[in-house]
Symmetry: C2
Subunit: 348 residues, 2 copies
DNA sequence: ATGAAAGCGCTAACAC
DNA sequence: GTGTTAGCGCTTTCAT
């Protein structure tokens, strides 16, 4: 691994001017050919294409966009929790599939739900003049972006709803689906439930908690004694919290876990105590191979791929000139019973 | 959702010239302040920063890069199988973590192992003048990229080794790890094994198959009668192939699956036949929650996050002027026994 | 310490 | 059909 400090590339990259010279035409004619503009004779087109080929010419999109009408970079930015998380990966894929059809490239970046990182990364993308930004934000208040939106950058929030800004939003039915999960546990016979949730500051966590508690209230279960454990942001934190709950004086008979890492941590804890067939669990957000565990993991599964597709479509609609009122799209989650959520409470 | 066809943004974006005018200085002075160059008086710095703040000025990186020495865009491209695949996600995260430290943005794109798509996507990235390209390619021959490499674009191949080009490569020890997995099954007592592999054209699939067969040969098991089923590219294809094998006249007592989707398909097939506790399985590449299935899934686990980090570091070393010989880094896979690979063959 | 002029690679506007 | 000129927003070079 020899290191040569000042190795500079020869930068022997052909420019449009080079192609024009070789083809014996003006630079604007080359531009016309490269961009498939009309009013160039077939013979000239052939000459230019041949010259471009021989010089291995590749147009510089960044240079072209500098002057081009509308100033689009044909580039969008996607900001998610972590590109290594399956939920984010599916959103990403949905966005990408929509973008690639249009020749638009996607910058992707992870936040780890870190507000400082959010600011840095959004700044980097803005400096690169992305046409649109699709965001799963940490901070609730996104008023900093209002000015950018007014300058023409399409903004779509996905998964989490922001405040302080009017923009398109694509979310799942968090509260309703959480209530449905809770109702499912209640219907199986559970009365002693516990809630295990993500960071309180996250909008999704608040919504899911609300759905859980509202449903308890709706069927007349007093919520005062119900363990509501929050700010669980990792598998390990969830694992520890569930162990503490199980080892406590009044362990619940059923668990509602509000996020996939929390679900996994809880599953591990149940297994370590040998209780995974005796204590019920319903998780929010699907878990990889959740159907192959024993018992299978009952979840309300989101549809992250569709959320990504819808978000990207909203972004492109805005870029195409849609100036209508901000749209709020709800991509519903569905309850998938697989076993863990159908375990009845133990007779007391 | 009202659509207004020709809504054009007012493009009221402040430029460096605007900031210069408001601050009452020359444009070059603004440039110095924005880029933290020396030789500006503190008072001038303050004036400029204040003006930039008031205009909500954000420099245009693409415009700046046009003239800047070295012509770096501070942008790299990552091309993987699918951003929705956990292996690719981990590679991506490794690349991103390395890039973000340097203020470099990452374009990520999925290939679905489609050669036509590979060409399109690489072209899009080149047009955007990425400083480096980190690739998990479909095609073995990558000589098309030699010219681009000579023009100064750093090229790093990750996971799969290319032909027709001299470039840095980051791979796992495919053949050795496959042999290790096979040896593991043999040691448990298996003699009737089967190989289930990905598309033959993929370098990794070839290597893993070679490791499997070589190991059988090394211990004197004749490979002629061993089922070698290839070109399994989806979970469903693997599922069907394994069912066929199990329902055949001489079902194997142990399976080696050469890729994570294949492993999952095989697991489903075994379960559907109620054989998951009776037929052994070792998979290549880890499977999400593989430790929580019953039995746990024995795998040779790759280290995709490290592969991403190492690949990105190689790319940055090249961008920093390393002109040494191409480097080949092997990030080893490790065998993780969890149960499925330790099932002994049934007594005959 | 500061700025004027030239130019990066391309497209827009307008000639011919 | 085709070319010329100007200029996108910035950095470079070189003067002051």
């Amino acid at each position: 691994m020899s290191t040569d400090s000042k190795a500079r590339r020869p930068d022997t990259r052909a420019t449009m001017r080079d192609v024009a010279a070789l083809a014996g035409v003006g630079i604007k004619t080359v531009s016309r050919v490269i961009n498939d503009e009309p009013n160039v004779s077939p013979a000239t087109i052939a000459k230019v294409r041949d010259a471009a080929e021989r010089l291995d010419y590749h147009p510089d999109l960044n240079a072209g966009n500098l002057r081009r009408t509308g100033r689009r970079t044909r580039t969008i930015g996607l900001v998610v929790g972590s590109v290594a998380n399956p939920f984010s990966g599916a959103v990403h894929r949905g966005v990408e599939d929509t973008a690639v059809e249009r020749g638009v490239a996607v910058f992707a970046s992870s936040l780890d739900d870190d507000a400082a990182r959010e600011q840095r990364i959004v700044g980097e993308m803005l400096r690169r003049r992305v046409d649109a930004l699709i965001l799963t934000t940490v901070r609730k208040n996104q008023s900093r972006l209002v000015a950018e939106q007014e300058r023409g950058t399409a903004l779509v929030f996905v998964d989490r709803e922001p405040a302080g800004i009017d923009a398109d939003v694509v979310v799942t039915n968090n509260a309703e689906a959480a209530a449905e999960a809770t109702a499912h546990l209640i219907q199986v016979g559970h009365r002693r439930l516990a809630y295990l949730g993500d960071r309180r500051e996250l909008w999704t966590a608040q919504e899911r908690r609300r759905g859980f508690l509202d449903q308890l209230g709706a069927v007349g279960i007093p919520t005062s004694g119900v363990p509501v454990i929050e700010d669980l942001h990792t598998e390990d934190a969830a694992y520890a919290a569930v162990l503490e709950l199980l080892d406590g004086p009044h362990p619940p008979t059923g668990l509602f876990t509000s996020q996939n890492l929390v679900t996994i941590g809880a599953l591990r804890a149940l297994r370590d105590r040998g209780l995974h067939r005796r204590i019920a669990l319903v998780g929010f957000d699907d878990v990889p191979l959740g159907d192959m565990l024993e018992p299978g993991v009952t979840v309300v599964a989101q549809n992250p791929y569709d959320m990504g597709r819808v978000a990207a479509r909203r972004a492109f609609a805005r870029m195409d000139g849609d100036t209508g009122e901000p749209v709020r799209v709800v991509v519903p989650s569905v309850l998938i019973p697989r076993g863990s959520g159908e375990i009845p409470p133990e007779p007391a």
